[in-house]
Symmetry: C2
Subunit: 127 residues, 2 copies
DNA sequence: CAGATGTTTAGATTATGTCTAATATAATAT
DNA sequence: ATATTATATTAGACATAATCTAAACATCTG
């Protein structure tokens, strides 16, 4: 995988921003800085970076997927209300018994916390 | 929430099938049996059933959401390759420290296993 | 340099899901 | 029982997210 300007822009943006932008946001911001990429390229590069294991894709119910540079290991908190994805420190997760795994090949265990983010919790309280 | 024939068809289909169909599949099968529902109604009912806590929606990266009647508690295994979602027995998940939770309001902890399902693991081996 | 491979692009296309406005059905009040 | 109100359904238009296409461009390799 070559390190093209477009690809580099996507990767470095993700590394510098611990938020979890959608593909559209990444495209928009990266092109606002230096308008040299296209929508398709942004999607292509995100797919490639995910495939290469450098970036994580987080699917959110009913919303666009979000992306995240794989730095230190962490879990995710997803807000039920606004869909925001936030990092939550990592801790080891008990693996399933190999009996219950059967012939499946386990690659990873992911823990997702759901509820209201700080902002939505505040709005929720003041109603 | 009234129990209409259309809503009942969606719910009972989900309860009788432990697979995790997409909205399109549910619409198709339910209407093949008794063609009285529309696409919009299927989506409406799925949304309502999820909101009522009777059905769970599972977002899968790059693929259509899948649905699941909330029977006994369980975690999910998602196949990296075909996107199939399978149930995996339930066990308690360690909650994050309330310190790391901050002002967020935690509703649930979900454990997702990722890798290759039995079918894809077999194909993977015989290459 | 010449061919092979990898990358980008704009725009068309697909996939998934939501909205609208008219209609139908059922629950409640009179 | 009839009117009123609330809830649900429908077809098809619409919106959004993401992929595909085919041509152009860039970079590597011999």
């Amino acid at each position: 995988m070559r390190c093209t300007p477009q690809r580099y822009a996507v990767m470095s943006f993700l590394m510098e921003h611990t938020g979890h932008p959608t593909a559209a946001e990444i495209f928009e911001v990266v092109n606002r800085v230096d308008p040299r990429s296209s929508r398709a390229t942004t999607y292509n590069n995100l797919r490639d970076l995910v495939k290469a294991g450098l970036v994580r894709e987080v699917a959110v119910e009913g919303r666009a997927a979000r992306f995240d540079a794989k730095g230190t290991r962490h879990h995710h908190f997803i807000c039920d209300r606004c869909g925001e994805v936030e990092d939550m420190g990592w801790y080891d997760v008990p693996r399933p018994a190999s009996r219950s795994l059967g012939k499946r090949i386990l690659r990873e265990c992911e823990l997702i916390f759901r509820g209201l983010c700080t902002k939505c919790a505040r709005q929720h309280a003041s109603r």
